[in-house]
């Protein structure tokens, strides 16, 4: 009888949320399959039915404490599309600024706290040392800069959103509070420093990346379609249309956010609580598509701010367009960050942003509507069906990690095949596989608002007998 072996990583560490990886080995000890899955479920999609649209945005933000602002803005956009509300230009600018704050606070966290340790230390480094706290011990100024940059992002959320996590000022119809000149001056003062730190982070990231590139390029480069918001060929987070390109870079479609659900479909597997989203037109599995930092680089031809545009050109020159290697997500995230800082400064310098017309009255009505934004991890879509009393009848959320779910799984398998041969597990293997997952900055919390996930890796033999579990929850 053949022996079946399995390797389990649990919990996967330095990602947001709980996940688990299982790698199955064939008779000769080579990889036959690999899964990344979610073990958590909460039930948002079900228990919010019947809720008044008024309360929906700030309750739905509890799906994710990391990217709550993106959820709130997608949520109010969906409600406004049902109510046929046109918000003011001032409110649009403030919402875009909030999204920039969200990108800055998230990406600075992901770069410094989650992925930097992988570039900083060798994969063979003692795992107990491979973290930001060790880096801070060795180089305290890095910790200071990381915190200063994140603080700029969260300060934007606090000043305009009135709370740092789960903001309250954004409601259907605009924003409750105008942005005062005093607040504007305060944020402008720290914008300069934030831009300077971002440039340093970008240079540090590029340097470490170049050093490790021969190694990194091997870790998963599955070719898929890419999808992101775009406005006149430039990177966009709040408005614009959705563009999809195939793996050769050819445009497949460009459509209005309201049509999102007509282009994207979901399927589920019983081994994970997270669903898989794919392009309806191409079917499964041809329609596997990726979103997030790399997709933003691949889909867009340019960036509207100076520094970030220069970086995008360099990125395309170095890695081609589309770029495929999964670990380039980490690089692309730094370009996102550069754009977010520059764009935030631009919006803050805009004199009209302190105008007081931030709010219009809404008229509740029944209907179906979609709200789309670029969240830190990619295109985020909320679709609601409201009754004539303005209560939620049904909702469908397609979250970046659900879209990337298939690609994460394929790239985990790809990386496992690269690093495991004939049952021999090279040192640092597990972390290399985790690096691939980490590159996506997956948010298991978001993808499994329906369920509770934990990330683990199990090693089993061919009979399914468990040989080893790496991690605590299985």
């Amino acid at each position: 009888m053949s022996q079946r072996n399995e390797i389990t990583i649990s919990p996967t560490t330095r990602i947001e949320g709980h996940g688990k990886v299982t790698i199955t080995l064939d008779d000769s000890g080579n990889v036959s399959d690999a899964y990344f899955y979610a073990t958590e479920i909460r039930g948002f999609d079900y228990f919010l039915r019947g809720m008044e649209a008024e309360r929906l945005p700030f309750i739905i933000s509890r799906i994710c404490g990391v990217c709550s602002t993106a959820h709130i803005i997608a949520s109010v956009k969906a409600i406004e599309s049902i109510f046929e509300t046109e918000i003011t230009e001032t409110a649009e600018k403030l919402r875009e600024l909030l999204l920039m704050g969200q990108i800055i606070s998230n990406h600075s966290l992901v770069f410094f706290f989650l992925t930097l340790p992988d570039f900083w230390f060798s994969p063979e480094e003692d795992p107990s040392k491979r973290n930001i706290f060790q880096i801070m011990r060795e180089k305290p100024e890095i910790g200071k800069k990381a915190i200063a940059l994140r603080s700029f992002g969260t300060r934007i959320l606090d000043v305009i959103g009135k709370r740092e996590v789960h903001i309250v000022s954004v409601i259907p119809g605009g924003l409750i509070n105008p942005f005062t000149e005093r607040e504007q001056n305060e944020l402008l003062k720290s914008a300069e420093n934030a831009c300077a730190i971002t440039t340093e982070a970008l240079n540090l990231g590029k340097e470490l990346f170049e050093k490790n590139w021969p190694d990194f390029r091997k870790a998963g480069d599955y070719k898929t379609a890419y999808m992101a918001l775009t406005k006149d060929d430039a990177m966009e987070f709040y408005g614009g249309r959705i563009r999809v390109i195939d793996y050769t870079g050819k445009a497949l479609s460009e459509y209005d956010a309201q049509d999102y659900m007509e282009h994207v479909e979901e399927r589920r597997y019983e081994w994970t609580y997270a669903k898989f989203a794919f392009l309806k037109a191409l079917g499964w599995p041809k329609g596997i598509v990726q979103v997030g930092p790399i997709a933003r680089m691949n889909v867009n031809k340019r960036v509207t701010t100076k520094l970030a545009n220069k970086e995008l050109e360099e990125f395309k020159r170095k890695f081609g367009s589309p770029a495929y290697a999964t670990l380039l997500f980490d690089y692309a995230r730094l370009i996102d960050l550069t754009y977010a800082c520059e764009r935030a400064r631009e919006l803050l310098e805009d004199e009209s942003i302190t105008r007081t017309d931030t709010r219009v009255q809404v008229k509740p009505k029944a209907g179906t509507g979609v709200g789309v934004v670029e969240a830190p991890r990619g295109t985020l879509a909320h679709e609601y069906v409201l009754t004539k009393n303005g209560q939620l009848k049904n909702m469908k959320l397609i979250i970046p990690t659900q879209v990337n779910n298939a690609a994460i799984n394929l790239n985990v398998k790809d990386a496992a095949m690269e690093f495991i041969h004939q049952g021999e597990i090279k040192p640092g293997l597990l972390n290399r596989i985790e690096m691939v997952i980490r590159a996506y900055d997956p948010c298991v919390k978001c993808a499994t608002r329906q369920a509770n996930e934990n990330l683990t890796v199990e090693i089993r033999n061919n009979k399914g007998k468990l040989l080893r579990i790496l991690g605590s929850l299985s």
Binding site: T12, T13, R42, G43, M51, F113, F133, V165, N452
Partner: protein, 287 residues
């Protein structure tokens, strides 16, 4: 001091909030505060013995229950951070409709797969283990988390916040004469007058202070994310009628009519849904 940070079923917002403490965070990290276990930041896979465990999230799956029991057994002091850990939080909304049953009907049966099975309800962690300190909030403000942790690290009891959010809100309470309640986007609120007096359903009069009242300051109603204040902790069944009284007095609308209007919105108490509330009696430990 060895510290572990544990996430159960939650949104990770409480740990995000801790990271938002800026310079105060750097200060605490520079002290005797060594984070040895945290799946979000550190690569250690097994739960170690620690002096202090900080737990965010509540118990939704059997894996959560197993983990919290292990963490308790291996920690000298255990702090429940955020409303999910302290009271069950927003995921408890699933207790109203039995998410477990809904999922079995609409999703699939996890029993057949490798996924941990769901508990019958969403529980706060105190249903399974003893908790030394509770810091409720959705999420608790960064300064509240850091100040409390600083005291705990230096062996002192953290400062408690016993009263209600109204104490931290500077609006004037006036007896009004209204004929109905309003949703937050139905009209613009006046900045000086109590939101309840203007007909909005603000939960500040029930909710524990300590946040600095950021929501009412922003012209948004308090939605009770810090859980009930001390005075309401032993009278869980009275919370609803207490709110009806407060609203009736401040708006001039009859109690019956307030009750009727609140009834139309069952979600008003979303963070006040305490699964197994009766076990939550350690009020001197709520910060």
């Amino acid at each position: 001091m060895k510290v572990s940070i544990i996430s159960l079923t939650c949104c990770a917002g409480c740990v995000s909030s801790f990271l938002n403490a800026g310079d105060a965070l750097l200060e605490i990290l520079a002290e005797d505060f060594d984070i040895v276990y945290s799946p979000t930041f550190v690569d250690l896979k097994e739960v170690p013995e620690v002096d202090l465990a900080i737990v965010e999230g509540g118990v939704r799956t059997e894996a959560d229950e197993k983990l919290i029991r292990e963490v308790r057994a291996k920690s000298r002091v255990l702090v429940a951070l955020g409303i999910c850990a302290t009271h069950g939080g927003i995921t408890s909304l699933g207790n109203l409709t039995s998410v477990k049953k809904l999922l079995e009907k609409e999703y699939f049966l996890p029993a057949s797969s490798r996924l941990p099975a769901l508990e019958d309800l969403m529980y706060p962690i105190c249903n399974f283990v003893d908790v030394d300190y509770y810091i409720p909030g959705c999420p608790p403000m960064p300064f509240l988390i850091v100040h409390s942790l600083k005291s705990i690290v230096s062996g002192k009891a953290p400062i408690r916040h016993q009263s209600v959010v109204c104490m931290e809100c500077h609006r004037k309470i006036i007896p009004a004469k209204l004929d109905r309640l309003y949703g937050i986007y139905e009209k613009e609120a006046n900045h000086e007058i109590c939101l309840v007096s203007q007909g909005f359903v603000c939960l500040g009069s029930l909710t524990r202070e300590g946040c600095g009242a950021p929501c009412p300051r922003a012209n948004f109603t308090c939605f009770g994310c810090r859980g009930p204040a001390d005075s309401l902790l032993y009278r869980s069944r009275d919370i609803y009628s207490f709110l009806i009284k407060v609203i009736s007095i401040r708006t001039g609308i009859s109690e019956e009519k307030v009750k009727e209007e609140l009834h139309r919105n069952p979600f008003i108490f979303h963070t006040f849904i305490f699964s197994r509330f009766e076990r939550f009696k350690a009020r001197e430990r709520v910060i």
